[in-house]
Protein backbone atom coordinates (compact mmCIF):
# COMPACT_ATOMS: atom_id res chain seq x y z
CA UNK A 1 0.00 0.00 0.00
CA UNK A 2 1.39 3.37 -1.04
CA UNK A 3 1.97 5.80 1.82
CA UNK A 4 0.50 9.25 1.36
CA UNK A 5 2.02 12.44 2.80
CA UNK A 6 0.22 13.73 5.87
CA UNK A 7 -0.16 17.44 6.63
CA UNK A 8 -1.16 18.68 10.07
CA UNK A 9 -2.57 22.13 10.57
CA UNK A 10 -1.04 23.91 13.54
CA UNK A 11 -2.87 27.03 14.57
CA UNK A 12 -0.25 28.59 16.82
CA UNK A 13 3.04 27.49 15.35
CA UNK A 14 5.25 29.80 17.43
CA UNK A 15 3.76 28.62 20.70
CA UNK A 16 4.35 25.02 19.62
CA UNK A 17 7.97 25.84 18.90
CA UNK A 18 8.30 27.51 22.26
CA UNK A 19 6.72 24.48 23.86
CA UNK A 20 9.22 22.23 22.12
CA UNK A 21 12.06 24.38 23.42
CA UNK A 22 10.66 24.13 26.95
CA UNK A 23 10.41 20.35 26.60
CA UNK A 24 14.03 20.16 25.45
CA UNK A 25 15.14 22.32 28.36
CA UNK A 26 13.28 20.09 30.77
CA UNK A 27 14.81 17.03 29.13
CA UNK A 28 18.28 18.51 29.63
CA UNK A 29 17.48 19.19 33.26
CA UNK A 30 16.27 15.62 33.75
CA UNK A 31 19.41 14.26 32.11
CA UNK A 32 21.57 16.45 34.34
CA UNK A 33 19.72 15.27 37.45
CA UNK A 34 20.13 11.67 36.37
CA UNK A 35 23.85 12.30 35.85
CA UNK A 36 24.10 13.65 39.40
CA UNK A 37 22.30 10.58 40.72
CA UNK A 38 24.74 8.40 38.83
CA UNK A 39 27.67 10.30 40.35
CA UNK A 40 26.21 9.85 43.83
CA UNK A 41 25.74 6.17 43.15
CA UNK A 42 29.38 5.88 42.08
CA UNK A 43 30.44 7.65 45.28
CA UNK A 44 28.34 5.23 47.29
CA UNK A 45 29.92 2.27 45.52
CA UNK A 46 33.36 3.73 46.19
CA UNK A 47 32.48 4.19 49.85
CA UNK A 48 31.29 0.58 50.10
CA UNK A 49 34.52 -0.63 48.50
CA UNK A 50 36.49 1.43 51.00
CA UNK A 51 34.51 -0.10 53.84
CA UNK A 52 35.19 -3.55 52.50
CA UNK A 53 38.94 -2.98 52.28
CA UNK A 54 38.94 -1.31 55.73
CA UNK A 55 37.19 -4.31 57.23
CA UNK A 56 39.71 -6.66 55.63
CA UNK A 57 42.57 -4.61 57.08
CA UNK A 58 41.00 -4.53 60.55
CA UNK A 59 40.41 -8.27 60.36
CA UNK A 60 44.08 -8.83 59.53
CA UNK A 61 45.20 -6.73 62.49
CA UNK A 62 42.82 -8.48 64.86
CA UNK A 63 44.05 -11.81 63.58
CA UNK A 64 47.65 -10.73 64.27
CA UNK A 65 46.74 -9.67 67.84
CA UNK A 66 44.82 -12.90 68.35
CA UNK A 67 47.81 -14.90 67.21
CA UNK A 68 50.10 -12.90 69.49
CA UNK A 69 47.94 -13.79 72.47
CA UNK A 70 47.12 -17.41 71.64
CA UNK A 71 50.12 -18.67 69.74
CA UNK A 72 53.04 -16.40 70.53
CA UNK A 73 55.56 -19.07 69.63
CA UNK A 74 54.47 -18.97 65.99
CA UNK A 75 55.27 -15.28 65.58
Amino acid sequence: MEQMPVFVKIDDYNSVLELMRAIRRKMDEAKETLGKINELKNEEDHQIEMWQSALVEIEKKIEFMNQSLNEPEQI
Partner: protein
Protein backbone atom coordinates in the same frame (compact mmCIF):
# COMPACT_ATOMS: atom_id res chain seq x y z
CA UNK B 1 24.22 -28.13 118.34
CA UNK B 2 26.50 -25.20 118.07
CA UNK B 3 29.17 -27.26 116.38
CA UNK B 4 26.68 -28.42 113.73
CA UNK B 5 25.58 -24.88 113.07
CA UNK B 6 29.10 -23.69 112.58
CA UNK B 7 29.86 -26.54 110.21
CA UNK B 8 26.84 -25.81 108.06
CA UNK B 9 27.65 -22.13 108.12
CA UNK B 10 31.18 -22.83 106.99
CA UNK B 11 29.95 -25.09 104.20
CA UNK B 12 27.45 -22.48 103.11
CA UNK B 13 30.24 -19.96 102.83
CA UNK B 14 32.46 -22.30 100.84
CA UNK B 15 29.95 -23.22 98.10
CA UNK B 16 29.49 -19.86 96.37
CA UNK B 17 33.14 -19.01 96.37
CA UNK B 18 34.83 -19.66 93.06
CA UNK B 19 38.27 -20.98 92.81
CA UNK B 20 40.58 -18.36 91.55
CA UNK B 21 41.88 -19.11 88.09
CA UNK B 22 45.62 -19.28 87.80
CA UNK B 23 47.22 -16.25 86.24
CA UNK B 24 48.73 -16.81 82.83
CA UNK B 25 51.67 -14.91 81.59
CA UNK B 26 51.89 -14.65 77.84
CA UNK B 27 55.01 -13.49 76.23
CA UNK B 28 54.35 -11.03 73.44
CA UNK B 29 57.08 -11.34 70.92
CA UNK B 30 56.62 -7.96 69.35
CA UNK B 31 54.73 -5.74 71.80
CA UNK B 32 55.27 -2.57 69.80
CA UNK B 33 53.79 -4.22 66.76
CA UNK B 34 50.75 -5.44 68.71
CA UNK B 35 50.22 -1.99 70.11
CA UNK B 36 50.57 -0.49 66.66
CA UNK B 37 48.05 -2.97 65.23
CA UNK B 38 45.59 -2.20 68.01
CA UNK B 39 45.86 1.55 67.52
CA UNK B 40 45.58 1.22 63.75
CA UNK B 41 42.48 -0.94 64.14
CA UNK B 42 40.91 1.73 66.33
CA UNK B 43 41.85 4.42 63.83
CA UNK B 44 40.36 2.39 60.96
CA UNK B 45 37.15 1.90 62.90
CA UNK B 46 36.83 5.63 63.49
CA UNK B 47 37.41 6.25 59.79
CA UNK B 48 34.77 3.61 59.10
CA UNK B 49 32.28 5.48 61.28
CA UNK B 50 33.12 8.75 59.53
CA UNK B 51 32.47 7.00 56.23
CA UNK B 52 29.05 5.99 57.50
CA UNK B 53 28.19 9.63 58.14
CA UNK B 54 29.38 10.51 54.65
CA UNK B 55 27.31 7.68 53.23
CA UNK B 56 24.23 8.99 54.98
CA UNK B 57 24.83 12.44 53.52
CA UNK B 58 25.18 10.91 50.05
CA UNK B 59 21.91 9.10 50.46
CA UNK B 60 20.15 12.27 51.53
CA UNK B 61 21.51 14.02 48.45
CA UNK B 62 20.36 11.13 46.32
CA UNK B 63 16.83 11.35 47.71
CA UNK B 64 16.81 15.08 46.89
CA UNK B 65 17.99 14.38 43.35
CA UNK B 66 15.40 11.64 42.91
CA UNK B 67 12.68 14.06 43.98
CA UNK B 68 13.98 16.63 41.50
CA UNK B 69 14.03 14.01 38.74
CA UNK B 70 10.50 12.96 39.58
CA UNK B 71 9.35 16.58 39.35
CA UNK B 72 11.16 17.01 36.02
CA UNK B 73 9.50 13.94 34.58
CA UNK B 74 6.12 15.03 35.88
CA UNK B 75 6.55 18.43 34.25
CA UNK B 76 7.69 16.79 31.02
CA UNK B 77 4.62 14.60 31.09
CA UNK B 78 2.44 17.65 31.61
CA UNK B 79 4.12 19.50 28.73
CA UNK B 80 3.77 16.57 26.36
CA UNK B 81 0.40 15.24 27.37
CA UNK B 82 -1.57 18.37 28.20
CA UNK B 83 0.05 21.09 26.14
CA UNK B 84 1.75 19.63 23.07
CA UNK B 85 -0.89 17.02 22.39
CA UNK B 86 -3.46 19.79 22.42
CA UNK B 87 -1.89 21.28 19.28
CA UNK B 88 -2.06 18.08 17.26
CA UNK B 89 -5.14 16.30 15.93
CA UNK B 90 -6.33 13.28 17.83
CA UNK B 91 -6.76 11.07 14.77
CA UNK B 92 -9.25 8.29 14.14
CA UNK B 93 -8.67 5.24 16.29
CA UNK B 94 -12.02 3.52 15.86
CA UNK B 95 -10.83 0.78 13.50
CA UNK B 96 -8.00 -0.12 15.92
CA UNK B 97 -10.37 -0.37 18.88
CA UNK B 98 -12.72 -2.60 16.88
CA UNK B 99 -9.90 -4.96 16.00
CA UNK B 100 -8.59 -5.10 19.52
CA UNK B 101 -11.97 -5.66 21.13
CA UNK B 102 -12.74 -8.84 19.17
CA UNK B 103 -9.85 -11.03 20.30
CA UNK B 104 -10.23 -9.80 23.84
CA UNK B 105 -13.72 -11.25 23.91
CA UNK B 106 -12.70 -14.47 22.21
CA UNK B 107 -9.70 -15.25 24.42
CA UNK B 108 -11.53 -15.51 27.74
CA UNK B 109 -14.13 -17.80 26.13
CA UNK B 110 -11.39 -20.12 24.94
CA UNK B 111 -9.80 -20.09 28.34
CA UNK B 112 -13.11 -20.81 29.98
CA UNK B 113 -13.68 -23.73 27.64
CA UNK B 114 -10.23 -25.09 28.35
CA UNK B 115 -10.84 -24.84 32.05
CA UNK B 116 -14.12 -26.67 31.66
CA UNK B 117 -12.42 -29.47 29.75
CA UNK B 118 -9.51 -29.72 32.16
CA UNK B 119 -11.68 -29.79 35.28
CA UNK B 120 -13.19 -33.27 34.75
CA UNK B 121 -9.80 -34.75 33.77
CA UNK B 122 -8.33 -33.64 37.08
CA UNK B 123 -11.06 -35.33 39.06
CA UNK B 124 -9.57 -38.12 41.15
CA UNK B 125 -12.58 -40.42 40.84
CA UNK B 126 -12.30 -42.38 37.62
CA UNK B 127 -15.60 -44.13 37.89
CA UNK B 128 -17.45 -40.87 37.31
CA UNK B 129 -15.36 -40.05 34.24
CA UNK B 130 -16.71 -42.85 32.01
CA UNK B 131 -20.28 -41.78 32.76
CA UNK B 132 -20.24 -38.66 30.55
CA UNK B 133 -18.24 -40.39 27.81
CA UNK B 134 -20.97 -42.90 26.97
CA UNK B 135 -23.38 -40.02 26.70
CA UNK B 136 -21.04 -38.38 24.24
CA UNK B 137 -20.71 -41.66 22.39
CA UNK B 138 -24.44 -41.99 22.32
CA UNK B 139 -24.74 -38.49 21.00
CA UNK B 140 -22.09 -39.16 18.41
CA UNK B 141 -23.90 -42.30 17.36
CA UNK B 142 -27.21 -40.49 17.15
CA UNK B 143 -25.61 -37.73 15.10
CA UNK B 144 -24.04 -40.28 12.83
CA UNK B 145 -27.39 -41.98 12.37
CA UNK B 146 -29.03 -38.64 11.67
CA UNK B 147 -26.40 -37.85 9.03
CA UNK B 148 -26.91 -41.22 7.42
CA UNK B 149 -30.66 -40.71 7.30
CA UNK B 150 -30.25 -37.22 5.85
CA UNK B 151 -27.89 -38.57 3.20
CA UNK B 152 -30.38 -41.26 2.36
CA UNK B 153 -33.18 -38.69 2.15
CA UNK B 154 -31.05 -36.59 -0.23
CA UNK B 155 -30.59 -39.64 -2.36
CA UNK B 156 -34.29 -40.22 -2.39
CA UNK B 157 -35.07 -36.65 -3.42
Amino acid sequence: MTAKKTKSAVKHHHIPMKEKEPDYVVQIQDPRMVRKQLLESLRDLIIFMQGYEQFRRLQEQKVTQFTALRNDVKELNHLLDAKLRHHFPKGKVKPITNHTSKPVIQEPEEEMEEEKVVAPVRMPVRKEAPAPTPKRNDLDELEQQLRDIENQLRGVK
